[in-house]
């Protein structure tokens, strides 16, 4: 079904991006070294960017590379390097009780949902989207910008507010400071692991 919707070059691009995405995703969960896993994640993100380009969503592809590959995975690597996480397998420790059961349930629900979607609708065909065709003579960025800043303005602003709250909350939780004048001195002797 997929092949009939595609010309040959498009199919090659689709296949390439899919292979990149799947191999990268498998690498993230199977590789022992966390840095290698992060590198596989970059490969997946690149695959997604290629898929975006194939769907002529150029801006989204660029944003994908700049934001995810260029900043977020760098921060992942940053944390990995700072903590000096080594090769040692720590899979026998569950930081949250019952984590594994929830994870398995989540995977089953997701895969089941995907299969149900594929079976019941025509959404997952691999064909180029036709729900919102690119207007003639308008750039990708212009159309996207108009949509974000008019139709979806509230959602956009709510998202940015959420991000600000997350940043402020992270700073507050991670780093509490004393007032400028020192009053209590006995607390400084407390030592907390991981602080």
């Amino acid at each position: 079904m997929i092949a009939t919707n595609y010309a040959i070059p498009d199919f090659v691009i689709f296949a390439t991006s899919t292979i990149l995405i799947l191999v990268g995703a498998l690498g993230v969960i199977t590789l022992k070294n966390p840095v290698h896993a992060a590198l596989s994640l970059i490969m997946t993100l690149f695959g997604v960017a290629v898929a975006f380009v194939a769907q002529s969503a150029d801006f989204l592809a660029a944003a994908q590379i700049i934001v995810y590959a260029g900043a977020i995975v760098v921060l992942f690597l940053f944390v990995i390097m700072f903590l000096g996480v080594g090769y040692g397998s720590k899979s026998d420790v569950e930081p949250l009780v019952g984590q594994r059961g929830f994870a398995i349930a989540g995977v089953v629900i997701t895969i089941g949902g995907l299969i149900a979607l594929m079976a019941s609708s025509h959404w997952v065909t691999g064909a180029t989207s036709v729900t919102g065709p690119l207007a003639k003579g308008q750039g990708n960025v212009k159309q996207l910008g108009t949509a974000v800043f008019t139709t979806y303005l509230y959602a956009f602003e709510a998202t940015s507010l959420l991000l600000v709250i997350a940043v402020v909350g992270a700073v507050l939780l991670a780093r509490r400071e004393r007032a400028t004048t020192r009053e209590a001195t006995d607390e400084t002797s407390d030592e907390e692991v991981g602080s």
């Binding site: 590198l39 660029a62 420790v93 949250l96 939780l173 509490r176 400028t180 692991v193």
Partner: protein, 413 residues
């Protein structure tokens, strides 16, 4: 395939013929060759210019004025033994130099070197590629080039390169924000992301150049930020010899070191060209009214402007002392990002209507007063380990479990 015509006038006929492919290939090869040639010249130029500034002789042995010195160095590096440290992560160690070099090459592809010329009835852009995302490609590639430095430092399995890598990635990410925001001002005034259109909109007289249209500040911010992205002096805390031996590439030798070295100089040239493209009209300039010479003058203007900025980089290296690391972070986060944000708002306001621009300027002034107050408060704050309270709440694992865990691992090693 109709979208190809909007990207490159070669494909305006709707079909791709053999001669189109040939022109494309020639364009690619000439672009690549010119970049490689420019890199060898740039390395020689930097060594020669700095030695002149420091009253030394510099390279002088091979070729007139030692101009072939870089080739000799390249040959030497090719025949040196290729060492991989015992503690290194072999795959990532080998991958990292390419992650540094490839983005440097790709970024050069979007720079317009000249206007559009006609060869045998085909309109040929003097630019390797003109993708619709244009200038975003440069941001994406500078994001990728962080990995080259970061992974090189980590994969070396050595302490100083790791410190250097962490410094480098922190610095490059910090300055990317200011860089992106200043690019937004250029995109706002052009109304297009494509570098071709950015250059076209600056054609004509000198006051159409973005450096004047946008009021100098974005250019200054961009220049500082791009110098920090390049890790060149005065922002070369990444390879501070006195602190870190030689930076992230300490453990590299032979061809892999040559690749890093080439990437650094290629980036210097590309970013000089990028400054010229974004702010100085690219190939814009006076053209003689002789029809046969018309095509060469834009290229000459572009080359001259780029060489001026390349010289400035060499000059920086010879003249400026290195920043301290906390100064680098202060400049990036506390000065450049607020300034570029404020300037972007003012520019956006003036593009809509002068009244809006003045309103924005007032708002930015108010915000900078608040920010200035925050800086003063921050400076009077008590710092140091004792001023930080323990974090709120429980960690997922209690302290003694974590400690037992890490102790066990140390025994295993």
């Amino acid at each position: 395939m109709t979208w190809l015509a909007t990207v490159d006038p070669l494909f305006v006929h709707g079909h791709v013929s053999g001669i189109d492919i040939l022109i494309l290939l020639i364009r690619l090869l000439v672009g690549f060759g010119a970049l490689m040639g420019a890199v060898t010249m740039m390395i020689w130029f930097e060594r020669k210019a700095i030695s002149d500034m420091q009253s030394r002789i510099g390279p002088q042995r091979w070729g007139p004025f030692g101009i072939l010195q870089t080739l000799a160095d390249g040959l030497k590096l090719f025949f040196k033994e290729d060492l991989i440290p015992d503690q290194a992560d072999r795959f990532v160690f080998k991958l990292a130099p390419y992650l540094a070099l490839v983005p440097a090459i790709i970024t050069f592809a979007i720079i317009p070197v000249g206007g559009t010329i006609h060869i045998a009835g085909h309109a040929v852009m003097l630019q390797i590629a003109n993708p619709p995302i244009g200038i975003l490609l440069m941001l994406a590639m500078s994001g990728i080039s962080v990995y080259g430095v970061m992974l090189a430092g980590w994969a070396s399995g050595s302490k100083y390169p790791l410190i250097s890598a962490v410094r480098a990635s922190a610095q490059m990410i910090s300055y990317e924000a200011a860089l992106g925001i200043t690019i937004v001002t250029v995109v706002l005034i052009t109304g297009s992301l494509s570098t071709h259109n950015i250059v076209l909109s600056q054609g004509g007289e000198i006051w159409h150049w973005n450096v004047i249209r946008l009021g100098f500040v974005p250019f200054i911010i961009f220049w500082i930020a791009i110098t920090a992205e390049l890790n060149r002096p005065p922002f070369d805390v990444v390879e501070a010899e006195s602190e870190l031996v030689g930076g992230f590439n300490t453990e590299y030798s032979s061809v892999r070191f040559a690749l890093f070295y080439m990437a650094e100089f290629m980036n210097t040239i590309t970013m000089s060209a990028m400054i010229v493209t974004l702010f100085f009209g690219g190939p814009a300039g006076w053209v003689p009214p002789v029809s046969h010479l018309r095509w060469i003058f834009p290229i000459l203007w572009f080359v001259v402007k780029t060489i001026i900025f390349c010289f400035c980089y060499v000059w920086f290296r010879a003249a400026l002392p290195r920043f301290r690391y906390d100064q680098v972070m202060d400049l990036g986060w506390k000065r450049l990002i607020p300034l570029s944000l404020g300037w972007m708002l003012v520019v956006a306001g003036f593009i809509i209507k002068p009244a809006w621009g003045l309103l924005m300027a007032a708002a930015v002034l108010f915000a900078s007063v608040v920010l200035g107050r925050a800086f003063v408060l921050g400076r009077s704050r008590e710092t140091g380990a004792e001023s930080v309270l323990p974090p709120i709440g429980q960690r997922p694992l209690p302290g003694h479990v974590l400690r037992a865990f890490t102790d066990k691992e140390e025994v295993e090693e």
